[in-house]
């Protein structure tokens, strides 16, 4: 009888183990988890955790700092609470207003222009059959360059003594002599926008192209049957389906442009005479050149506000039709 009991126990053990192992099998485990009620939360958790933990402290302390005076050159003075005093100072600060104006100009220019060129380039790339890989790589190259090289090379291209762009323009006859692009406040803006366009359009090209390639061809075929011309196809099929991607890319690009002083540091240093002085540059200098961390925090918080406003506007303008339904 003990033998039978043993065999019975062994069977039970085996079936228990096999069931257990099946549950432990990562793939079926994932399959099972995905069926649970809280699957969405589980999927979001790791990312949320990482971002919150690492970022919470800096962002909150940054905003907190904007209400305190913190001058690194006087560490003994501590970080006393000053309430809205620094915001008041900001409102009365003429350099802030100049920087704000410039930030809007470049914040819009460095987003809209690359978007437009990116859309045109993506449409063209999507259309051609031969040499796709080659042209795609060529068109994306500006993006591959590290900013230090890209910035200085453009400075060289536009240099008032050594610049090949100047040389070509003179040979063509559009210029009489080499122009000092970054010395003239007007052409400085054009030059910075040009470099921004060059650097920025590949991002849009890549994303929009990827979006276009996700659109099922059946939709276009159906439209052809109905006699639609390419422009109509674009407006009725392509553009609407690209809206979520346009929203994302414009949002991300706007944030990157407003928050990054890289290009300005290399090309213009905020000059000449502050014509390309933007908020990101102002914040950086205030912190690490003037050592006024409290004021820099104030500028940064305002920048946060501005970016938020931009994003809210974009989200209002570009509503996604697919958002209406939720998955089962």
């Amino acid at each position: 009888m003990s033998q039978l009991a043993n065999a019975d126990a062994r069977n039970k053990l085996q079936s228990f183990l096999s069931l257990y192992l099946q549950k432990l099998n990562p793939f079926s485990l994932i399959g099972h988890i995905s069926e649970t009620k809280y699957w969405a939360y589980l999927m979001i958790l790791p990312g949320l955790l990482l971002v919150s933990v690492v970022i919470f402290y800096p962002v909150v302390s940054g905003i907190w700092l904007s209400f305190h005076k913190y001058n690194l050159l006087r560490p003994k003075a501590g970080q006393p609470w000053v309430g809205l005093e620094q915001y008041q100072e900001l409102i009365n600060d003429p350099i802030f207003w100049i920087s704000l104006k410039n930030t809007f100009i470049f914040g819009v220019g460095n987003v809209i222009l690359p978007l437009m060129l990116g859309m045109i380039a993506a449409l063209a790339l999507n259309h051609i059959n031969r040499g796709r890989a080659l042209f795609r790589t060529m068109l994306l190259m500006p993006w591959f360059m590290p900013s230090v090289v890209a910035g200085h090379m453009w400075a060289l291209l536009l240099d008032s003594r050594l610049g090949v762009v100047n040389d070509l323009l003179v040979r063509i006859g559009l210029l009489d002599s080499y122009h000092a692009w970054f010395a003239d406040p007007n052409t400085t803006m054009i030059a910075v926008l040009m470099v921004g366009l060059w650097r920025g359009f590949p991002f849009f090209t890549l994303l929009l192209l990827a979006g276009m390639q996700s659109i099922p061809t059946e939709l276009y075929e159906a439209a052809s049957v109905d006699g639609a011309n390419p422009w109509l196809k674009y407006r009725a099929i392509t553009l609407p389906l690209l809206i979520p991607i346009i929203l994302v890319s414009v949002t991300l690009r706007t944030i990157a442009v407003i928050n990054s002083p890289d290009l300005f540091i290399i090309l213009t240093g905020g000059g000449p005479g502050r014509t390309t002085h933007v908020l990101s540059f102002y914040a950086f200098n205030t912190a690490f050149s003037e050592f006024n961390f409290g004021y820099a925090a104030t500028i940064s918080t305002i920048m946060l506000l501005i970016v938020t406003i931009f994003i809210v506007i974009y989200m209002r303008v570009l509503r996604n039709p697919n958002q209406q339904r939720s998955a089962t």
Binding site: G31, F135, F144, M145, S214, N322
Partner: protein, 280 residues
């Protein structure tokens, strides 16, 4: 106009656009390449030299000699691989949940993810430095990869979500009716369709990680842990003349791995993910 003529017209138009934009993109790169083959006296001249009259490879050899190439390149490569991997895995799953599942606070959560990017980097430097120091992650590749991931994860999520939003839900619903689990739906239906988008995201993340300079400079204080962009900056950070040849050579060398990765990536990632696609 006949259908064929219109087709040909659009073809010509497309190729014209691609060529013009291609020239616009490539010209500065070509100029960088040409400059990398010039001696300094051939760059700083009264009359511009287009093709170098005395082409030389000395810039490349000098670059090799002056920088600890292997270390710098290696660090950057490892950090990039780590960053891309984490971002894609966590990014895709999070993006899917946010795209498909409506719950209260979803919009707010999206904004929280974006918050990290929305605050200018200048004020992040010191707090992040302190965090890394307390975790013992200064001068480490993992430390930089974690920092990069934290900044690039929101982009991954937003981008992949954007692509997922463009995929109609009907396909999933049909598959669910057929009995597929949610995970199965993701793997067999969503991933192949989102493949171009995910590939694009991978490219973006890897470029951003490869070219990042500021954090790498601030969070490393010994030569073994520095990354390639830091090395590049050291070429131009000097007090004196700008070594155009060296900088250009550095730029060209910097771009080559990315081009290689890009060429490989667009083929294999798309192909790999499309393997499990449901036909029809």
């Amino acid at each position: 106009m006949s259908h064929r003529t219109t087709q040909r017209l659009y073809n010509v138009l497309a190729y014209t656009v691609v060529v013009i934009v291609g020239i616009f993109s490539a010209f500065p790169i070509v100029w960088t390449f040409l400059t990398s083959l010039k001696r300094n006296e051939d760059v700083v001249t009264k009359t511009l030299q287009y093709i170098p009259t005395n082409p030389t490879l000395e810039n490349y050899s000098e670059l090799w000699g002056r920088m600890s190439f292997i270390t710098l390149f290696g660090n950057s490569a490892i950090i990039t691989v780590m960053t891309v991997s984490i971002c894609l895995v966590i990014g895709s799953t999070t993006a899917y949940a946010l795209s498909r599942y409506r719950f209260p606070g979803r919009g707010g959560m999206m904004m929280v993810f974006l918050l990290i990017r929305m605050f200018p980097m200048v004020l992040m430097l010191v707090p992040l430095f302190i965090i890394l120091r307390n975790l013992g992650l200064l001068n480490s590749r993992l430390g930089l990869a974690l920092v990069y991931t934290t900044f690039l994860l929101p982009i991954s999520i937003w981008m992949i979500k954007g692509f997922l939003d463009a995929i109609p839900i009907d396909l999933e619903e049909a598959a669910r009716i057929d009995g597929a689990s949610r995970a199965g739906v993701i793997v067999r239906i969503i991933l192949p369709l989102a493949a171009p988008g995910i590939a694009a995201t991978a490219v973006l993340i890897s470029i951003a990680s490869w070219n990042e300079f500021m954090f790498a400079l601030m969070f490393t204080s010994n030569e073994q842990s520095q990354t390639w962009p830091v090395g590049l900056h050291l070429l131009v950070g000097g007090e004196f003349n700008l070594p155009w040849g060296l900088l250009s050579a550095g730029g060209i060398i910097s771009v080559i791995p990315i081009i290689i990765f890009f060429v490989l990536a667009q083929n294999s990632i798309v192909r790999g993910l499309t393997q499990g696609a449901v036909k029809g």
